[in-house]
Amino acid sequence: MANEYKVQVNHLTKRFGDLLVLDDISFNVKENEFLCIVGPTGCGKTTFLNSLSKLYDITAGEILINGEPVDLKRHNIAYIFQEYSNMPWLTIRQNVEFGLRIKKLPEAEIRERSDYFLDMVGLTKFQDYYPRQLSASMLQRAAIARAFAVKPEVLLMDEPYGQLDIELRFKLEDELIRLWREVGTTVIFITHNIEEAVYLSGRILVLTNKPTKIKAEIPNDLPRPRDIADPNFVALRNQVTELIKWW
């Protein structure tokens, strides 16, 4: 029963001093689900991911993975930050390999996986470049390759495409969906872009302003591949937009 869900968030509360950010939030995420969370700026979306990934201590409540408290040494979590944090002193390939080395995989496996994922995101030709030599979208792809390479059980993404132009965003969104379906992982994807949430998600959580609660939970069963001009797509997008009008 406890393991029915991949991620369980029970009565999560987070304060920074007097500032109550997350106010008694509870929800669950199923295995292989693609969950999008939308919410106004400053409502605590990043704070939530940081709590889940143990970068922050939580004030009250609990976050479980496979029914157990999160343990980074045991649970395989990948986190793609808002700023794509590549190690500037490592080449793109070394960045992708970094996590695999930490996890002490055999050398052959490391090569194989990084080859595969570099190819997947189209960076094979740039594998020996340093991050500073690449554009924002390439860095974002490198971050995605790095995250997928560790074959995470849970993949956290914090507004990863917020700073990219539309064309690139579409491309990377499709790439992400393809990887997600091929590799099979539970994704929690934060965005403030409603269209993006409707395009990607299997379910959308809408958050309120601080102190933050869950305002609505919207299942999204639109068939894939999705078309942003499809009437059903537009209807769902409008439904979500309606919900956040009062932010």
Partner: protein
């Protein structure tokens, strides 16, 4: 291609500037001027410099003096670098060490190397120890403060990303904190090698019988202006070569932090 051209232009401008300076020097020290009576002209200094490469000044030729000075500077500099890097990283990484040592460090930092001479003699005697110490003091705080800044400036997201992958604290230190501090370490070393070399005159004021600094001090003692000028020029040129060398090492090891510029 474009870059090469730029470099050549820059070198040409530099050479021209030096040439102008030499002309000015010639002109200022020409026959009959007050300055000319006190100071040799560039040609005299140059001839003297050539002479010192095969004729001894005091106990040694210029090469011998240079090697002695270089040895002192390198010993002092290496000790300063090693301990500065350790202290800087430790203060940047560990809050307790930072709280404990930073105030002491900040108090000692503004004291100029010259001020330490008497203490250096008392602590380390008139031999080489005192000289090493003076040079150490002139490099140490430069290295420490830069490394400390670097260790503090590590991108917290990189540390977060490493934690996420299950990195231990030790691994974070070796795989994230140290590499991202490398450019700062080199800035520190660069400044330190220059100031260490510049301190060689002060260090060799502590009762020495050789070294470029000694040549200058001894030249002053016997009123030999040419010898002083030769010493000054050698200090300038060697200092320039040392910092050029350090910059070369840096651009090799920190390619990643500069690739944007190229």
């Amino acid at each position: 291609m474009k870059k090469k051209k730029l470099n050549i232009t820059r070198a040409a401008v530099g050479a021209l500037a030096i040439l102008c300076f030499l002309c000015l020097w010639f002109w200022a020290t020409r026959e009959g001027t007050p300055l000319g009576r006190l100071m040799p002209n560039p040609a005299q200094v140059f001839l003297r410099l050539v002479e010192t490469t095969h004729t001894k000044v005091g106990p040694l030729t210029i090469w011998g003096h240079m090697l002695n000075s270089l040895r002192r500077v390198l010993v002092g500099f290496c000790i300063a670098s090693g301990s500065g890097i350790l202290l800087g990283l430790a203060m940047g990484w560990n809050r307790t060490i930072e709280a404990l040592l930073r105030p002491i460090f900040e108090l000692l930092r503004p004291i100029p190397p010259l001020a330490w001479i008497s203490l250096a003699i008392v602590w380390f005697g008139l031999g080489e120890g005192g000289k090493y110490f003076i040079i150490f003091v002139s490099g140490f705080s430069n290295v420490t403060i830069n490394v400390y800044t670097g260790a503090k400036a590590v991108d917290p997201e990189l540390i977060g990303a490493a934690k996420m992958l299950g990195c231990s604290d030790r691994r974070i230190f070796t795989s994230i904190v140290i590499p991202s501090s490398v450019p700062y370490i080199f800035t520190g070393l660069q400044i330190a090698i220059s100031s260490s070399w510049a301190a060689v005159v002060a260090a060799e004021m502590v009762r020495s019988t050789n070294g470029i600094g000694w040549m200058i001090t001894a030249g002053q003692g016997i009123g030999d202006m040419e010898q002083i000028m030769v010493g000054i020029i050698v200090i300038g040129v060697v200092g320039f070569l040392l910092s050029t060398f350090m910059r070369g090492v840096e651009s090799k090891l920190c390619a990643w932090s500069r690739v944007q510029d190229s």
